[in-house]
């Protein structure tokens, strides 16, 4: 029973990887001048906070995308492990978009991003009862800059302790 569940989860992850690699080939992957972006996904640690040692609180997304990168999946696995250890903690996943989109679409996009993170946490055994999704669209940027690097920091899903 448990084994079959793990197997199923692995399958899901594999499928996710496949989807991701398919997308990656579709796009040009360029390394940003500052080295803080891969493609246009933020890879730096500037704005990142930690839920516990080695457990970053947020994952980043490409423009208009809600696909989890390899780094994002690693972050979420760390979050899932931490949540399993701290079974009394519930979380809110706050989904955000950058300022380069219409307000209403961005609200939906933030929700979609936070749900991508939620689905992944659930794959790693975290009950949906412990997760609330909250989209802020483009209403709460962390970086007020009007440039690609600032936007990449703002396209994020942040895991926040709810209690």
């Amino acid at each position: 029973m448990i084994l079959s569940k793990i197997f199923k989860n692995t399958l899901l992850v594999l499928t996710a990887c496949l989807v991701l690699s398919a997308c990656a080939t579709k796009k040009e992957i360029a390394t940003d001048i500052k080295g803080s972006m891969q493609g246009d996904v933020y890879t730096g640690t500037d704005t990142v906070k930690y839920l516990a040692e080695g457990v970053p609180d947020r994952v980043f997304f490409a423009t208009n995308e809600s696909i989890l990168t390899t780094a994002s999946r690693e972050t979420l696995r760390a979050q899932a492990a931490w949540l399993r250890k701290n079974s009394g903690i519930n979380v809110v996943l706050e989904g955000h978009a950058d300022e380069r989109g219409t307000r209403e679409y961005n609200l939906a996009l933030g929700e979609r991003r936070a749900n991508a993170a939620k689905d992944y946490l659930m794959t790693y055994g975290i009950s949906s009862d412990r997760i609330t999704v909250l989209s802020y669209g483009k209403e709460r940027p962390v970086d007020s800059g009007s440039n690609p690097l600032s936007w990449s920091k703002n396209r994020r899903s942040v895991t926040v302790k709810a209690n």
């Binding site: 380069r100 989109g101 209403e104």
Partner: protein, 446 residues
């Protein structure tokens, strides 16, 4: 409050006036019609009475200034400087000396009179065709003195209608989101003001994030998104009573609300599990109906004026594009096929056009297209702008524009702008604070 205000009656019906001056508003007007707005004349006793009640030195002049400003901002008229006027206001109102007004090249003349009568404000005004030396229109209003600004707007609407052949849009209000504070911690409040920026009032305190307010057809109700208790939900607000309620009982975020053209339903998006679909709720029987059912993001719905169709944007093709469907959700058709992303479609009150926001190569555009997607016309390009809302006569669009910040992330502003359907006459609308998400009311005095 809106309905009871003004009694209006006709003094004289112009006879056979088709040969008189006309303003064509269908093309960009680079040659606005020169006209003279003679200050409304006022007797000394009335002047003093109004001064006491309204704290205005000369209410006649104040009202004509409103008319002048409205006509001037429409871009169709060029009100001439009062210094050039030769004839005194009271005499001009009785019988203009047309050769005097002709001399300063005025083609139309507005004259009038204000009285204080039984604690009421009584205004009469006349519109004259200077070249034909004829009266085109004469009207009188009686109302409570505090409505003096609306009197100015109604006169403007009547003049606009008489000279262009289309209803005006001056006796209207704008509901919008007032913004303050740093970009990362923006404080937002619902605010309402007259179309010309006066009588600004905040409707919420800023305790919670509020977005996208929209009027119902009678302009007495507003639907909007509030983050009250950190639960983003669509709300309904009665402007007069201040009562608010959540629209529907959804287990997640509802957003992007608008009223149906009959005001009986609210159409909105509901987001769940990474998908957003379009729903309606009947305000009378509270019945919720699902309109779209697709794994994509479907949002920003807007009804056609006859209520038979809905336009919305969806990323079901991979990217945000504009679609139309029947109001029951059938016959979904994509209509935007140009380069770039398309969002925030809004059906024109005349029914023939859809206004939208377009993002292409890092620039944002406000544009219009026909309802079959053909005839796309981009009216204005900028760093960031979106969310057009139509004037009730379908001639002007109001939207908001945000500025690019500098290297330090400073210099962010959000302002309201308007532009004519022709692409001419772009104007910043003055607001006491930064502003976004404007929605234009219907004509209050119909």
């Amino acid at each position: 409050m809106i309905k009871k205000i003004i009694t209006l009656f006709l003094i004289l019906i112009p006879i056979n006036s088709h040969a008189l001056i006309e303003v064509d508003i269908t093309r960009g007007n680079l040659d606005p019609l020169p006209l003279a707005v003679s200050p409304l004349s006022i007797d000394e006793e009335s002047r003093k009475s109004f001064q006491k009640v309204l704290k205005k030195e000369n209410i006649g002049e104040e009202i004509s200034t409103i008319v002048e400003n409205n006509l001037s901002t429409s871009g169709l008229f060029n009100p001439l400087s009062k210094e050039a006027f030769l004839q005194a206001p009271d005499i001009a109102n009785l019988k203009p000396r047309f050769e005097d007004w002709n001399l300063i090249k005025a083609q139309a003349l507005i004259t009038g009179k204000v009285n204080f009568m039984d604690d009421k404000l009584r205004v009469e005004f006349r519109l004259w065709d200077v070249l034909a030396a004829k009266e085109m229109m004469a009207l009188a209003f009686t109302t409570v003195p505090t409505n003096w600004r609306r009197v100015g707007h109604i006169i403007s609407d009547k003049v606009y209608e008489r000279l262009t052949g289309e209803k005006g849009y001056f006796d209207t209000r704008i509901i919008y989101v007032a913004e303050e504070g740093p970009k990362t911690q923006r404080l937002k409040k619902l605010a309402i003001m007259d179309q010309d920026g006066f009588n600004n009032k905040f409707l919420t305190l800023g305790n919670e994030l509020v977005l996208t307010p929209r009027f119902n057809p009678t302009s007495q109700m507003v639907t909007y998104l509030s983050y009250f208790k950190n639960l983003p939900r669509v709300y309904l607000l009665d402007i007069e009573t201040g009562t608010q309620e959540v629209v529907g009982d959804f287990p997640g975020m509802t957003f992007a609300p608008r009223f149906s053209p009959d005001g009986k339903k609210i159409i909105m998006s509901f987001a769940k599990d990474g998908k957003s679909d379009i729903y309606t709720m009947d305000l009378e029987n509270r019945i919720v109906e699902r309109i779209t059912n697709h794994p994509s993001i479907d949002t920003s719905p807007s009804y056609s004026p006859d209520g038979k169709y809905i336009t919305f944007n969806s990323d079901r093709s991979g990217y945000q594009q504009i679609y139309i469907m029947k109001s029951d959700g059938s016959d979904v058709k994509r209509i935007s096929f140009g380069n770039g992303l398309y969002g925030t479609p809004v059906w024109s009150p005349r029914g023939d056009l859809i206004a939208f926001t377009k993002l292409h190569k890092g620039k944002f555009y406000i544009g219009v297209m026909r309802t079959d997607g053909k005839g796309e016309r981009l009216l204005t390009e900028n760093y960031y702008q979106e969310a057009p809302s139509w004037s009730p006569n379908g001639r002007v669009l109001i939207f908001y524009r945000e500025t690019k910040t500098n290297d330090k992330g400073e210099g962010f502003t959000a302002k309201l702008w308007s532009i004519d359907l022709t692409g001419y006459n772009e104007r910043k609308i003055k607001t006491p604070t930064d502003a976004s998400d404007p929605s234009w009311s219907s004509l209050l005095s119909n």
